[in-house]
C-alpha cells in the first residue's frame, strides 16, 4: 500500500472479511499451484520518484536529440516547433486520462475534438470523410490496402517506389496476412515512372498507392499518375505530408479515393518515432468501410447538439470478425495535439508555413548543390525535403558533421541501395538560414576531409 494504492492494513482486513476469505492469497488460489510464480519477479525493487527521474534523465542525456543537435533529418517525422498551447491542452487530465468515449454524455469534450479534427483533415485532404486517427503513417497504408481489397474484391496493389519504405514494408507484412500481391513501380529523376505505373495497373488491381511529396521529397503529379487507377477501377490511395497541404493540391482534387499519412508534423513531438497518429480520409463511397473511430453529430433527448461515435457497426467491438479493421485503442490524444496546432496555425498561418518551408527548402537545396562534392539526387520539384548525393561515404560524412552538432539528414543506402550515396535533407521552420549555411559548410568540409582521407 504505497504511492498509487490506498488499501491500508485496516482496509484490507475489512475487505477480506466482506469477501469472506482470510487472505489475498486465498483469492489467488484459483491459479493452479504449478502456474503460480512462487518467487519475486527478477526486477529491481521500487525507487523513489526522484530516483526514477534521475535514472531516466541519465538515459535521456545519452541521446543526441534535436535540442542538442541541429536536426535536418526528416523521412516522415520532422522537428517542427510544437506550440506551447498544444502541451498545455493535451496535458489536461480531462483529455489525457479518459478512455475511448464509449459514454458520449460524459465525453463531449473528446468527441467534439474528434469532430473538429475530422473536419480539419477533410479540409486538408479535400476529401469529405475523415476518421479520428489511426496508429501512424505506414500502418495506415496497410489499412488502406485492406479497405481497397474489401471495396474492389481484388488482391493486388501497385505501389510506387516513392512511397515511404516503412509504408511499403508494412504493407508487405500485412499483405502476407490478408493475402495480397504487392507490385512496385520504380522512379525516374525522383518521380514515379508514369509509363511503368500505367503498365503495371490491371483489372486485378485493388489500389494504386502513391506518395506526394514522395520519400525523396519530390512532388508527384498525382492526378496524372492516378489516371491509370481510374481506368482500371482501382482505388487511388495517396500518402501525403500534412504540412505541405497548405500549398499543394489536395489529393481529393487529384482523384484520390483515400488520402492518408503520418500525422506527426502536426502538433506531435518526435518522441523517437511515436506516439503520433495516422490520418485517413476518403470519399463518401468508402464511409462504411473506414477503419477506426469516427465521431458524428447528433442530438440529445432535449434537442441539444452533441457528438457520438458514429458508424460503430464497422468496428470490431460490434462486428467482430466482419469488422472493417481490428483497430481499437488508437491515438486520440495525438490527434488532439494536431487539432490544436492546426487551430493555432489557422487558415493563413498554415498556408504561410507551407510557403516558408518551400522557400527555405529551395534555398537549402541550391546552397547544398553548390557545395563541392554534393550534388542533387534528382531535379524534380520539392516542397520541404530533398535528396543529394555525396562524393564520399555517407555514414562517415554524417559522423563528421555530427561532431559539429548537426544531424545532416537521412542516409538512403539501406532502403535504396541504388542511392547508396544519397542523403535526404529536411527543412522545418526551426531550421534557420544560418543553420542551413552551416550545414552546407559542414557537409563541404566533411566530404573534402573524407576525400582527402583525413582521420576524423
Amino acid at each position: 500500500m504505497t504511492r498509487y494504492t490506498s488499501a491500508t492494513p485496516d482496509d484490507r482486513r475489512e475487505m477480506l472479511d466482506a469477501i469472506g476469505v482470510s487472505s489475498v492469497d486465498e483469492l489467488f488460489e484459483q491459479v493452479p499451484e504449478p502456474l503460480r510464480l512462487g518467487r519475486p519477479l527478477a526486477l529491481p525493487g521500487g525507487m523513489a520518484e526522484n530516483e526514477v527521474y534521475e535514472r531516466l534523465s541519465a538515459l535521456a542525456e545519452r541521446n543526441a536529440d534535436a535540442e542538442a543537435q541541429v536536426c535536418f533529418v526528416g523521412a516522415g517525422m520532422y522537428d517542427h516547433y510544437v506550440p506551447a498551447i498544444v502541451d498545455a491542452i493535451t496535458s489536461r487530465s480531462e483529455f489525457l486520462t479518459p478512455y475511448t468515449p464509449y459514454q458520449p454524455e460524459i465525453s463531449q469534450g473528446g468527441l467534439q475534438v474528434m469532430f473538429e479534427f475530422q473536419t480539419a483533415m477533410s479540409e486538408l485532404t479535400g476529401l469529405p470523410v475523415s476518421n479520428a486517427g489511426l496508429y501512424e503513417g505506414p500502418s495506415s497504408v496497410a489499412s488502406a490496402g485492406y479497405l481497397a481489397m474489401g471495396a474492389t474484391k481484388r488482391r493486388r496493389f501497385v505501389v510506387s517506389r516513392g512511397v515511404h519504405p516503412h509504408s511499403r514494408e508494412t504493407l508487405a507484412t500485412y499483405a502476407v496476412g490478408y493475402d495480397a500481391e504487392v507490385v512496385e513501380v520504380g522512379l525516374e529523376d525522383g518521380l514515379t515512372d508514369a509509363a511503368a505505373l500505367a503498365a503495371a495497373v490491371d483489372g486485378e488491381t485493388a489500389a494504386v498507392i502513391l506518395q506526394s511529396p514522395n520519400f525523396l521529397g519530390a512532388v508527384e503529379d498525382v492526378a496524372a499518375l492516378g489516371a491509370a487507377a481510374k481506368e482500371h477501377g482501382a482505388l487511388l490511395v495517396v500518402a501525403c505530408d500534412p504540412m505541405t497541404l497548405g500549398i499543394l493540391k489536395p489529393p481529393g482534387e487529384c482523384g484520390a479515393d483515400i488520402a492518408l499519412g503520418e500525422g506527426q508534423p502536426l502538433g506531435n513531438r518526435l518522441d523517437f518515432g511515436g506516439p503520433s497518429f495516422g490520418f485517413f480520409c476518403a470519399t463518401e463511397a468508402q464511409i462504411r468501410r473506414m477503419p477506426g473511430r469516427i465521431a458524428g453529430e447528433t442530438e440529445d433527448v432535449d434537442g441539444r447538439r452533441g457528438f457520438v461515435l458514429a458508424l460503430q457497426t464497422r468496428e470490431q467491438h460490434i462486428r467482430r470478425e466482419k469488422a472493417t479493421n481490428n483497430i481499437c485503442t488508437a491515438q486520440a490524444l495525438n490527434a488532439l495535439g494536431a487539432m490544436v496546432h492546426l487551430a493555432w496555425l489557422g487558415r493563413r498561418g498554415f498556408r504561410e508555413l507551407g510557403e516558408l518551408l518551400v522557400q527555405r527548402t529551395a534555398y537549402a537545396r541550391e546552397r547544398l548543390a553548390a557545395v563541392d562534392g554534393v550534388e542533387l539526387l534528382h531535379t524534380s520539384p520539392v516542397a520541404r525535403e530533398f535528396a543529394v548525393r555525396l562524393d564520399a561515404p555517407v555514414g562517415k560524412v554524417l559522423d563528421r558533421v555530427a561532431e559539429r552538432g548537426i544531424a545532416a539528414g537521412y542516409p538512403l543506402g539501406r532502403e535504396y541501395p541504388e542511392f547508396d550515396d544519397g542523403l535526404l535533407v529536411a527543412i522545418t521552420e526551426r531550421r534557420t538560414k544560418a543553420q542551413i549555411d552551416e550545414l552546407a559548410e559542414a557537409l563541404g568540409a566533411a566530404v573534402a576531409a573524407e576525400r582527402e582521407g583525413v582521420t576524423a
Binding site: 464509449y102 512532388v219 470490431q316 521552420e429
Partner: protein
Amino acid sequence: MALTETPMQAERARTIYEKSKEGRRAAVLPSAEVPEKPLADLIPENLLRSEPPRLPEIAEPEIVRHYNRLSRRNFDLDSGFYPLGSCTMKHNPRLNERVAALPGHARLHPAQDPRRAQGALELMWLLQESLGEICGLPHVSLQPSAGSHGELAGLLLTRAYHADRGEERTKVLAPDTSHGTNPASVTMAGYEVVKVATDEVGGVEMDDLRAKLAENAGEVACLMLTNPNTLGVFDENIAEIAALIHAEGGTLYYDGANLNAVMGHSRPGDMGFDIVHVNLHKSFSQPHGGGGPGAGPIAVSDRIEPFLPRPQVVRREGSNGRGPSFDLEFERPKSIGRLRGFQGNFGVFVRSYAYILSLGGDGLSEASETAVLNANYLKARLAEGRAGARLPIAFDRHCMHEFVLSGKPMKRDLGLATLDLAKRLLDFGFHPPTVYFPLLVEEALMVEPTETETKESLDAFAEAIEKILAEAEDDPDLARNAPYTTPVRRLDEVKATRQPVVRQPL
C-alpha cells in the same frame, strides 16, 4: 429561481469553426530569411492548391478557452471512479509524463543513428527485458502500437512460424467471451475464426475445445485466449488447453489486456503461451488519452523469436573494456517485417518503464494483489442487497481483477436495461462499467475497479447502485430517462449512424 439546466447544459456545443472570424490568427511565423521566389517557379502551378484549407481563424486566447471549456465536458480518471471493465483504468502517474517530456526523449529523431541514441535504445532494451520477465517469455518486440496491433502481429508470427515448417493452416480458435479485436485480427491476418464455448464456471468448455480441434484437425493455427478472461475468471484448465493446442501444432496466443490481474503471480509463458501482447496503456499506466495512444509489445517463446518484426533492439557486449552498446537489428531473415514506421511508440515505453522502475517487482505484484482484492470486495458489496438480487454475478466464484454482472433480472423485474443503469450512474458522478460485453452474458456489466481505487470509492459505487435500484422500484422512468446532469443528456446514437454528419460543413 428554479434550475432548468445545468450551466454546462446551457452552454450549447459550438465548434471552433463556428468561432472563427476572417483575419484572426494565433500563429506568428518566422520570416523566410532567405531570398524568396514565386511559388510557381518552384512547384508547377498545376500541382499547387488554389485555396488554403478552411482552418479556423482565431487568436490564441480563444483557442485556449475553447479547448479548456471543451475539456470540462469530459469525465476523466482524475475526476472520479472509472470501473470500465477490460480497460484497467488505473492511476496515471504524472512522473511518467515528466520523464517522457525530457528533450532527450521528446525531441529525439527516430532516425537518429543508433550510436547517438544509446539512451533510448537502452531504455527499450530494459523495457523488453522487464516485460519478458513479467510475461515469462524471453523475446520481446516493442513495435506493435496497441493491443489489436499486437494480436495481428501474433497471428502473422504464427503464420510465419507455420510457413517456415512448410505448413499452411487456416483456422484460429477463440472463445465466445473474447474481445472484438481478437476475431477482427484473425480475419485481417487471413484466418477464419472458430468459436469455442464457455463452460459453467466461465472457462473454456473443454469438450467443445476438443471437438473443435478434432473438426479442424491440421487446420488450427492458433488459439487466442485471455487469462483471466473477460469474465474475470482464471481458466484453471490452461495447462491442459496448452497441451492440446501444442499437440495439434498450433500456437497459443495470450491477449494481455488482463495482465493486471497476475503480474508477479503467474506468467503467461509458464502457462504455456507462445505469444503474448501487453497493453502498456492498461497494466503499465500509460494514460488512455481519450482513445490512445497506447502500445502493444509482444513477448514470445524461443521458437517464435526468429520471426519477430524488424528492426529489433539488441544489446551487444562491449569489447576492449568498453561497456555494452545497443543497436537496431535489421538483418533478421525470417522476420515478418515491419508493422509500422520506425521503432514503435517510444514515448509510451518511457512512461511504462518509469512505472516499472517506480513500483519495482514487488510493487507490480502488490498492484495485482490489490486489483484482485478491490474487485472481489466490490463484487462482495454488490452481492448484497438489491444489487445481489437484480444484478447477479454471471459466474459465481472468486474473480480476479474484474467481474461481470448480469442485468437480466433487473430488466425483467424493473424494466431497466443495463444501459439505463449505466446512464443513471452518470448522474451519481461515476463512469459506468463496460456494458453489453462479454456478449455471452445477457445485459452484461463488466466491472474493473483497479488497484488504485480506495475502499471509500468502491463503497460509494456500491451505494449508488443500490440507490438506483431502489429508486427504480418506485419509478423506473428515472433511470430510463437518465442522465439529467451531464453536459448533454441521452444522445441519439442511431441517428449519427443512419445519417452520418462526420464533419462541420463550412
